[in-house]
């Protein structure tokens, strides 16, 4: 890709475990991407901002155990705003591996559990965006 990849990151809900997503934010910018870290933001606001800012990737992090609920809510909001296919959607945080398949079924493109190497996230984004451009 010639232009910079743009990533919007946020924490849904009240859970204040920010360290993980801030680290990912740092790692993605070190890898040459442009990252916007929103902190707490409502889902509707995030989707609107993602459309407005024309980002490539939306990423969020859940440590509270509410990963399934939040994923459903975000996908629904994207669908309602007719933007589901415009973004690569990623989740990170602490949740059981048994839930990975369900998260993908809900519509999350990239699922990253605890202790994921940040390079894996970078590679995943590059690879998927390359595939998209090729289509």
């Amino acid at each position: 890709m010639d232009r910079k990849i743009r990533v919007l990151l946020f924490k849904p809900g009240l859970d204040g475990h920010w360290r993980g997503i801030m680290t990912v934010s740092k790692a993605l910018s070190e890898a040459g991407m442009e990252t916007i870290f929103f902190g707490f933001k409502n889902v509707k606001g995030v989707v609107e901002a993602a459309i407005q800012e024309d980002v490539d990737v939306i990423g969020f992090s859940v440590h509270s155990g509410a990963h399934l609920e939040w994923s459903r809510e975000i996908v629904t909001e994207l669908e309602q705003q007719g933007a589901r296919d415009d973004f690569l959607l990623l989740i990170g945080g602490v949740f059981p591996e048994q839930d990975h398949a369900e998260l993908r079924e809900i519509g999350i493109d990239g699922v990253f559990g605890p202790a994921t190497a940040t390079q894996d996230i970078v590679d995943f984004i590059m690879e998927r965006l390359r595939q998209r451009e090729a289509v």
């Binding site: 009240l14 509270s64 155990g65 509410a66 591996e97």
Partner: protein, 557 residues
Amino acid sequence: MEENDKIRQAEEEWKKDKERWAERRDEFVSDAGIEVKDLYTPLDTEGIDYLEDIGFPGQPPFVRGVYPTMYRGRLWTIRMFSGHGTPEETNQRWKMLYEEGETGFSAAVDSLTFSGVDPDQEVEGAAHEVGKEGVPLFSIRGMKALAEDLPLDKMSVALVVEPMTSAAITSMYFNVLKERGLRKEQFSGTTQNDILTMTIGYIPWGSLRPADLLKLACDLIEYCTAMGEAPRWNPINFTTYNYREGGIDAVQEIAMGLANAVAHIDELLRRGWKIDDFVHRLAFHLSAHRDFFEEIAKYRAARKLWYRLMKERYQPENPDAYRFRFHVQTAGSSLTAQQPMVNIIRTAYQALEAVLGGTQSLHTNSYDEAICLPSEESVRLAVRTQELIQEETGVASVVDPLAGSYYVESLTRELEERIWEYFMRIEEMGGVVEALNTGWLFNEMSKAFNKRRRDQESGRESIIGVNCYVMEGEDPTPPFRTNPRAAEIEKKRLADLRAERDNAKVSVLLDQLRSVCEKRENVLPVVRELTAAGASLGEITGVYREIWGIWQLPFVA
């Protein structure tokens, strides 16, 4: 001196001999970046005066422990941090832990309770998180359900809430104890009440400004201790554990804890109290991390520095004020989702550090915590880990058994110097509140965390199961799931309460709280009445937010 010269000479010869032997690495450094030498000898403890610098347990400078008999007199409290689902379910878990030999309770609250938000409040998605990360405690009814049939006259409870909700949650608990017929002199336990946890460790939704958090934290200290409303309660423990989980090292951990304590002490002195009115009830909650000897030396150095701080700055008359008392939690951030059973071994070594370091109370993490909240099986093993140290290893028979080790003593001295220097840096920039306002502390944390990530990803820091001894195709650990109906149950509990309580009374009291907040008087007396009258957590915290506004975080990530 002559003796040391002989050793020096012999060491030179030994070094020559050693040259023929290769070492595994070019350099060995501790977690805090201290160079680790190949060998420690009496030369490394030169200048350390036993009576002056180390002394005896229970005596200044308290390096060897805060009580003369330590675990020979009384073992540390086995205090597991626990909570999930509903108060009733947490009550069941607490009873199980009690049966298994736990000797103190500790309440993990959910993210709503931590943030001071009710489940029926208009905060997006709040209901998704009820009971997920801890126990929901939105009103005195929840607190009663949590406490039911537990021996609260014999076992102390740690309420792990921070300044934003400490007045409300602690007063709910006090009200329950009072209803049980306990006198205020019998209220025994701790409120975490730490301002740094909420500003650099975990960032809750709608947090208050550092100065307002400090005010609330000091209100509780003042109410319990200086005003004598709960004289045996620990109204704060400075939770360096939480900052450490954010990536900083042992030196930064203790330095930030001391700087935080100084901010609270100075605020209470400004309010006109004397040091002896409150300082003996301040406590700490430290981490037990990966570097075995450095962590042990850290506890020893922390005790000495607290003594120094008291002696040089505040000179309390109460001898208890010089004793640095602390709880330890093993490092959650050292656990891995990969090969989770290995976490049992990590935790056992970290627990041993805490014991060899002289902790007063200990939480051992469960092996599945990098995946979900602990299951019954995993938490039972975590309790057994402590019981094994108590019953089978013999280490609790001797007070401070590592004293006199050339390595441990020299490391203790080194840490002491480095911690003091870092502490003074924070002091010189105006103390923790100023260091928070400018974002400096937050950036220190970010820098440390990013360095740790790079070290882990590059393999400079080894983690079994992640960057070495990796197993392919592991069977995932079955996750423990919390009650999916918790939000519904808690919403109903609150709705019933709102329908049955005296709403006019609550409304008058909330107006009183508004006026107290405007005048910046102590919130505790009216908050205690509010919780007794059935006011909810969100209603009380809502007043703080309404009057003082919320904090715009200054950090640069």
